[in-house]
Amino acid sequence: MLGIEQPFDAAVIHALKDISLKVPRGKIVGILGRNGAGKSTLLRLLGGVYEPTAGRIWRNGQVAGLFELGGVGNAHLTGRDYAERYLRVIGGVTAGALAELLDDIQEFSELGDAFGQKIRTYSSGMSARLYFATATAMQHEIYLIDELLSVGDEHFQAKCWRRMRERLLNGASGVLVTHAWEAIVRLCEHACIIYDGRFSFVGDSDKAVVKYLGLSVPVATSARFSSENPSAYSAISGEDVELQISVDVLEETEVSLAASIEVLRVGLGWEIVLLSNPMSIGAAVGRHDVILKIAKLPLVPGRYSLNLFLSREKTREGLDVRSWTYGNGCELEVLSDKDYGGAMVRLPYTVRPIGGL
C-alpha cells in the first residue's frame, strides 16, 4: 500500500461548531455553559483574539473585551501606568482627555494611594478592581464580558452592576459569558446555552436559566392551573383589565391565588411592579374560573411577566406555580399609544390650579 505517513497524529478539537448569533444594538446576550463548553473561545473570537476556522463575524462598533483582564500590561507597571497604557492602546485616548479618565479610574477602583504602586503588590481583589475600572472608564459600543461580575466584594460588585447598567442604558451592546445564572437573569433578555461547542438552547433568558439548571416544576396534586390557560395575555395601559385564569381543584381544600407582575430592568434584574396577597378562590373539587381584575392598569407599554401562585389557604403551602423562575410564567403585553415621558409606571393623577403665593 502506498501512502504518506503522517508525521504525528495531530488531534483537532472543535471548540465551536456552526454557531450563529446576532446581538442587537442596546442588548446584552447571555451565554451559559459549563467549563470547557466553548464559552471563552466564543468570546475571544468575537473580540478578534482568534480567527474563526470557518464562518464570519461582523462587528459594528468599537469592541471592549473584559476578558484576560491583565492582557495589556505586566505586574511591574503601577496601576496608573497600566490604566494609561490601556486607555492609549485600546481606547485611543489622547493626552488631553487622559487625566480626567485616570482620576475616574482611581476613584472608582478605590485603590487610593495604591494606584501609584506596582500591580504585583496588589491583592487579587485590588487588581480585579483596577481592571474593571479601567475597562469600563470609557463608553464603548460593544462589551464582551467574561465572568466579570464575580470578582470583588459585595460592595464593589454592586458598583460594577451600576456602572454596567449605565453603559448599557447609553446604548452599548454586549455578550456576557458566564455560568452564574443570576447575572444572566439580571442583564440579559435573551440567552443561549452552549454545550459541547453548539448552542443547545436560544431564547428568553429566564427559560435558558431554567433549562441550564435543570429545574423542574413540582407536580401539582391538590390544585393546579388548567393547561387550557393562555401563555400570553395582552392589556391596554390605563384601562380596566380582566385576566381569565382557570384553576382545577383536585382535592377539597381552600385554595388561594396570588399574582405578581414583574418587569426586567436591564442591569438590575426582575422587579415586581404589582403584587397581591393570596386571595381565596374556593374549595370545591372541580374547575374554578377566576377573573383577575386590575382597574385602570397602571403599567406603561412593554413586556411583563405575569406570575401566578396557588396555595393552601390555611397553611400557605404552595400548590402550583406559573413563574419566570420556573420558566413557565405567562407573558403580559401592555399596549398603549400614549407617551409616559420615560416613567416606569403609569401613576394616576389629576392636576388643578391653586391660589396664593
Partner: protein, 396 residues
C-alpha cells in the same frame, strides 16, 4: 494526633516603597492586626470581608507562605492549600501527567498515585482533555483539575482562597460535597470567599474580617447576614447622601423661580414621610415671567435607584394666578407608590432651557404591604371566582 490550629496575637505588616527603588518614602500597612484565633478539628471556617481586609494575608500565613511580623501561629497537621488555582500546574504536561507530578511533589509513592489517579480523572470531568496539555485548558478546566488533585490527597488542613467561584454550577455542587466529605472525616477546612451562598452551605463557623481584625466569629447564617447588612447599609448611606445632594432650589433665569414644593399626605400640613394608601397631593408654587414664551413646568418622581415613577409636563399659562405667579396641585389619590425613598424634581423650562428648579426628597412607608416581595406600586388587584363544575374523569 488531632489537627488543631491556633493563632496568638498574630500581626502582619507590609512596607511599601512610595518612591520606586528609593528608601526615602516608605509606608507601613498593617494587613493583619493582632488576631487571636483557635480552630479545632471538624471546623469548617468561612472567612468573609471586604477587599483588603487581610483575609488572604491571614491564609498565606496559616499556609506558611509568609510569616507573621509578630505573634505566633501553631499548626498541628499537614496544611494543603489552594491559594491560586492552577498555579502549580505544568502547562506543557497533560492533565494526567500533572496528577503524577503533583503527587510526587506531595510525597506520594507511584503506587499510591496509581490508586487514585482514575478517581481524580473522573472527578475532574475533563473528558478527552485529560490527555491534552494543560495550556489548551480554559481557566475553569484548570480550576477543576487543580481542585480534584488536591482533594484526593487526603488533606488534613485544607485552605481554599476564592477557588470555588471558578467552577460551574454542577462542579461547584460536587466540590461542596467533597469538602463536606473531608470535614466529616474530622479535618479542618478554611475557605475565603465572596460567595455567601457557598459559605453558608459549606461552613459551620464564619469569621468576618475588616481592616485586619476579626469583627465577628460565629454561626455562618448569622455572620454572613450581618456582613451583607453592613455592606448594604454603608452603600445605601452613600447613595442616599448623593441623592440628597440634589435637594436644592435654584433660579437660573431672573423672573423665574419656584417658591415652594410641598407634599401632603392625609392631612393639611406638609409631610416628608408619606403613608401608602393615604390621599396624597403635591403643591407647586412659583413665578415664571410672562415674557418667557411657552413656559413649562416639568415634574418627576425619581426613586433612590434612579427609576422614574412619574414624569409629566404642564403648561404654566394654564395655572397662572396673576401676572407672573402660578400654582398647581397634582392629586395622586390614595398613594400607590411602594416603600422607598424618592425625590420630587420640579423644573421650569422655556425653549428647552431650565429657568428654575427645585427638588425635595421624601419617603414612603407602607404598613400594609403584601408579603412575599417589595413591589414598585402598592396597587389593588382583585379576584372574582366562579365554580364551573366538576372536572371530567380524565382530568383526575
Amino acid at each position: 494526633m488531632e489537627q488543631r490550629l491556633s493563632l496568638e496575637h498574630v500581626s502582619k505588616s507590609f512596607t511599601t516603597a512610595l518612591i520606586p527603588g528609593g528608601q526615602a518614602g516608605q509606608s507601613t500597612k498593617l494587613a493583619v492586626d493582632d488576631v487571636v484565633l483557635e480552630i479545632r478539628c471538624g471546623d469548617r471556617v468561612g472567612i468573609v470581608g471586604p477587599n483588603g481586609a487581610g483575609k488572604s494575608t491571614l491564609l498565606h500565613m496559616i499556609a506558611g507562605v509568609s510569616s507573621p511580623t509578630s505573634g505566633r501561629i501553631d499548626v498541628q497537621g499537614k496544611v494543603t492549600s489552594i491559594l491560586t488555582l492552577g498555579v502549580g500546574l505544568r502547562d506543557d504536561l497533560s492533565g494526567r501527567e500533572n496528577i503524577f507530578v503533583d503527587g510526587a511533589v506531595q510525597g506520594k509513592s507511584r503506587d499510591d498515585i496509581d490508586k487514585v489517579v482514575e478517581e481524580v480523572v473522573a472527578f475532574a470531568e475533563l473528558g478527552e482533555f485529560i490527555d491534552y496539555p494543560v495550556r489548551t485548558y480554559s481557566t475553569g478546566m484548570k480550576a477543576r483539575l487543580a481542585f480534584s488533585m488536591i482533594t484526593h490527597l487526603e488533606p488534613e488542613i485544607l485552605i481554599i482562597d476564592e477557588a470555588l467561584s471558578v467552577g460551574d454550577a454542577g462542579f461547584g455542587a460536587k466540590a461542596t460535597k467533597k469538602i463536606l466529605d473531608i470535614c466529616n472525616r474530622g479535618k479542618i477546612v478554611i475557605i475565603v470567599s465572596h460567595s455567601m451562598g457557598s459559605i453558608r452551605s459549606m461552613c459551620n463557623r464564619c469569621l468576618w474580617m475588616d481592616s485586619g481584625r476579626i469583627v465577628m466569629d460565629g454561626d455562618p447564617e448569622v455572620v454572613t447576614a450581618a456582613y451583607i447588612e453592613a455592606v448594604r447599609g454603608a452603600d445605601e448611606a452613600i447613595l442616599l447622601q448623593r441623592f440628597k445632594a440634589f435637594e436644592r432650589t435654584r433660579s437660573v433665569v431672573p423672573g423665574s423661580r419656584i417658591n415652594s414644593v410641598e407634599l401632603f399626605n392625609g392631612s393639611l400640613s406638609p409631610a416628608r414621610v408619606l403613608k401608602a394608601g393615604e390621599h396624597s397631593f403635591l403643591r407647586i408654587r412659583g413665578e415664571h415671567a410672562l415674557s418667557a414664551a411657552g413656559g413649562e413646568c416639568q415634574i418627576r418622581i425619581v426613586r433612590l435607584d434612579d427609576a422614574v415613577l412619574l414624569s409629566l409636563v404642564q403648561c404654566v399659562d394654564q395655572w397662572r394666578l396673576g401676572e407672573t405667579n402660578f400654582g398647581l396641585e397634582i392629586d395622586l389619590g390614595p398613594l400607590v407608590l411602594g416603600m422607598a425613598t424618592y425625590r420630587l424634581d420640579v423644573s421650569l423650562v422655556s425653549n428647552d432651557c431650565v429657568c428654575a428648579e427645585s427638588s425635595v426628597v421624601f419617603e414612603v412607608i407602607a404598613p400594609l404591604a403584601p408579603t412575599g416581595g417589595k413591589p414598585m406600586l402598592l396597587y389593588p388587584m382583585t379576584l372574582e371566582s366562579s365554580f364551573s363544575g366538576a372536572l371530567e374523569g380524565s382530568l383526575r
